[in-house]
Symmetry: C3
């Protein structure tokens, strides 16, 4: 089995601020819906006042999640936007750091509350990828 990719064109490129006090995933998905973005790649940095993230249990096929009710830096967060049931959905992973430089993170979940953040989002045009259930992994992956 090989890497299976689809070629896209670069659409609009958006750079801006994430809203203080709001949920990270919801903010990005709302922006995409409002801007008719169906497919995108993004990267962001900033800080949160609380965060939820997880790691996938590959045997049990469930995410084990952690909520940190703490002020943390978003040391990095990269992800993509594609379609699930016709709606733009975010798949992103996040690395968080505390005041001692201790690092944690994983798959990004709601609720993760933004303190401040700066996003660079590249719209990708062409036929958007769609998520569907994948038997091998139990994850919602892009339809082949």
């Amino acid at each position: 089995m090989k890497m299976t990719c689809v070629e896209f064109k670069s659409g609009r490129r958006f750079v801006g601020r994430l809203p203080h006090g709001k949920d990270l995933i919801t903010s990005i998905e709302t922006f995409c819906k409002d801007s008719s973005i169906h497919m995108a790649s993004f990267s962001l940095i900033g800080a949160v006042s609380s965060a939820t993230f997880g790691s996938y249990d590959q045997k049990q096929q469930v995410y084990v999640t952690t909520t940190e009710k703490a002020h943390l830096e978003i040391v990095t967060c990269t992800g993509n936007v594609s379609l699930l049931d016709g709606n733009p959905v975010v798949n992103a992973h996040i690395v968080l750091g505390d005041k001692q430089g201790k690092i944690t993170g994983g798959h990004l979940f709601s609720e993760t509350v933004i303190f401040a953040g700066e996003i660079d989002l590249q719209e990708l045009t062409g036929k958007p990828l769609e998520r569907t259930y994948d038997d091998t992994t139990g994850l919602m992956l892009w339809r082949k």
Copy 2:
């Protein structure tokens, strides 16, 4: 409140080496000044011979910084360039790893001394974003 973005066009794309023994932020800012870059997004990997990074104390509104005088991998470093008082300034976050695979990091500060590094910097053209004091967070954020 919502995510507030500005649309940019992709300008020049630069890929290359970071200078051995020099400060990371200063190197990028000097390159941008020399190349008349006012707005950009970048990503880099490499190694440092010492690093300074911090985490923002959201209550006290000050950065708590740490200096590691150690040889560390730059496991990831993403950030942007925009204008402060008319000059290109870097805002970047860094993840660092040691020989035991132990990870640390946060908001990137000077002085962080490059051992080796490879950068991919995308110039963004359009009206560059400008940083100004933000009352809510105490940070220098992009003017709305």
Copy 3:
């Protein structure tokens, strides 16, 4: 000494799935060879069923590597493709997270076995950068 960059044009942009059960670096290099990609930047997220990563000993000029035979999230992985002896080679760094949110990582090596993953790869066109031995660091860096 300054940051030394080469300007590239954006070529094709590929987004897609990484193959379950295969080696990460080999998968990307094979894709590049099959698609005649000589220079690229990429970012990916996902999960692995085992991973090998390292940190460079700047004095001894050797990589110290670690293999984790564990199911881990790829919290972030960024890198580039350029030429070594005429073939596309990957240089990438990886951040991994476990079910307790404990983070590890460093310079990516084979063998790192993909469980699932999503890659965004931007081809860069122009004269591709070539790797050659660098006396100062002992690393295979881009020829100046």
